[in-house]
Structure formats: C-alpha cells, structure tokens
Symmetry: C2
Subunit: 109 residues, 2 copies
C-alpha cells in the first residue's frame, strides 16, 4: 500500500511549462480525492450481470481504505479529500486530457 501511495503522489502525469507530462501532483501542489469503488472488482467474463464476489467485505475494505487515505496524506504532506465508503454518490469531475491510468500493486517490480 505504501508503494501504491508513493507511486500516486510521485507519478509524473501533469504537464510542465513545455506541455510535457513531467510533473507530479506533489510537485504541482495539487490535491487528491480518493473514492472507494467495489465495482472495480466486477467480473464481466460470463453473462451480462457483473459479479462482485471478488470485492472485499466492508470489515476488510474499510480499514484498507482508511489506511490508504492516511498513507496518501503522509506522502502528499497535507489532508486529502475522500468519498464516503459504501455510499451512493454523484462525483462530478472534468476529465482533463483525458488521462486514465490503472496502477495495480500486484504488478510492481
């Protein structure tokens, strides 16, 4: 989890003055919002009804979620924004780029 947190904070995904992806959220003084999403674990291999059986139960997931928030705050050096765990929310955003990067801590060196 510390690997993932440090990766998120230090990944160079924002443009520098020359328009090159060269700046991290830490460099840029940016903010982070973390939103938990059990649907990321949906399995869509079979049929048309996604299976969420691989997602962790809240008893396991909530401590992981909260530890991740604390770890990001430690690496960023300030408070971060968070979603409400397990809630039905409307998250409004502007996807600028758009840039979407998947980071899987299972796939680290």
């Amino acid at each position: 989890m510390e690997w993932l947190s440090a990766k998120i904070v230090n990944l160079r995904i924002f443009n520098d003055a020359a328009g090159v992806m060269n700046v991290s959220v830490l460099d840029d003084g940016g903010d982070i919002i973390v939103v938990s999403q059990f649907t990321l674990h949906a399995s869509t291999r079979k049929g048309n009804r996604p299976s969420y059986i691989k997602a962790a139960n809240p008893e396991i997931a909530i401590p992981v979620y909260e530890k991740m928030i604390r770890s990001l705050e430690g690496n960023l050096g300030k408070k971060i924004q968070t979603g409400e765990f397990g809630a039905d929310m409307k998250v409004s955003l502007v996807n600028d780029g758009p840039v979407t990067i998947l980071i899987d801590s299972k796939n680290k060196v």
Copy 2:
C-alpha cells in the same frame, strides 16, 4: 471486438425500479460516449514516469477505434457520441454511483 461491444451494450449496470443493478444501457434507452485513451496502456511498474510504449500507433489504433464505434452503434441501434481521437479534451461528467467497470477482451470465456 464484437464480444466487447455486445458486452458493453448488454451489461446490467443500471438500477431498475427496485434500485437493483438490473438494466442495460440498451434496456434503458441510454446513450454511449466512446473516448479513446492511450494512457490506459501506461505502465507504472518502474520509476515515476509512466511508459506508453505498449499503446498502439495511430495507424493501428484509429481503425480499431472507428470499428468499435460502428460495432457499438450496431448493437445499440443508434448513433453514439465520440471523442476526437488523439485530441487533448476536457470531458465533463458526473460519475453516478460511482460505478467503474473494467472489461478486458483478453479475459473472456
């Protein structure tokens, strides 16, 4: 690609009247927007600079993108919305749920 297109159109990810994820975008009469994103292929295993070397060149990617659009339109039975390939865009959205589901056509039965 036809597998992926049919999966997207028929996946039951919208709430029915009872608040259960039971309705597909086709059932619901909803619309689809497709946005190409080479950053999805970013490799973040090593260092802090994502590698995009696995993303296809435009000569390969554009025909795939356009074929996917046609396939979705065929399955949905109407025109869909699209992003501009390779452009820097600001995509404004409200992520309702939020629900994010990854479907990888390499991982089909």
